[in-house]
Symmetry: C2
Subunit: 129 residues, 2 copies
């Protein structure tokens, strides 16, 4: 089937979900090349909007995301990638999931998960996933 890369200037949002726990780990964007690389290698590869290039998750940290299944939504413009995540955490802040903060009604954010690794050790000071 044809994916619709037209809505976000060549990008699709890709939701990454742990295939065992069903936890949503992170959301990134893929262009056609990142999507092809993800399938080819079986490891989640995004297009980094800030750096303007492909970014294979775990290339620095070693915390790769291994593709188990790819789902596509009804409009063919969003992916759900179910993965095995053998590393301690997907988030460069040291958490299992990037969604470690809960937004409260007053607009504040509360940490709602435990830190599972020290980001400075894994990423150094220039934290980049």
């Amino acid at each position: 089937m044809e994916l619709d890369f037209s809505k976000l200037d060549g990008l699709l949002p890709a939701v990454v979900q742990d295939a065992r726990s069903d936890e949503v780990l992170m959301v990134g964007f893929m262009n056609a090349e990142a999507y092809a690389a993800t399938l080819e290698r079986g490891e989640v590869t995004f297009f980094s909007r800030s750096r303007g290039k492909l970014w294979r998750k775990g290339e620095q940290s070693g915390h790769k995301l291994l593709v188990r299944e790819v789902r596509v939504d009804c409009d063919a413009d969003t992916l759900l990638v179910r993965v095995e995540a053998p590393g301690p955490g997907a988030c460069h802040e040291g958490y299992r999931s990037c969604f470690y903060r809960r937004l409260e009604r007053d607009g504040s954010a509360a940490v709602a998960a435990e830190r599972v690794f020290d980001p400075a050790t894994v990423y150094g000071k220039d934290a980049k996933r």
Copy 2:
């Protein structure tokens, strides 16, 4: 905390996850107004890119998504909205989740979920969520 609406011209991707089953139901976009409406009413409200206006999920179908928790990611540019979904399905194609198709290695898509309602009955021919 401040959400970063700048990366997608005023929009944030919002992943909607069933708070009971942890199934990812859909992904939509929120602008600041849609986000405020979501919190205000406790029902998921998106900004429809195709129609250029707010779209309260379930306004036609009755299949509302009731907010149980909102999470924000490390970059404050993506939301994870955990919901109660009392309607039969979030997808306007008649499935529980919009991610009802699995992408196969050969590029084809296979339906991997059961249809739970008849979209023509709920939405009429002009299917619009």
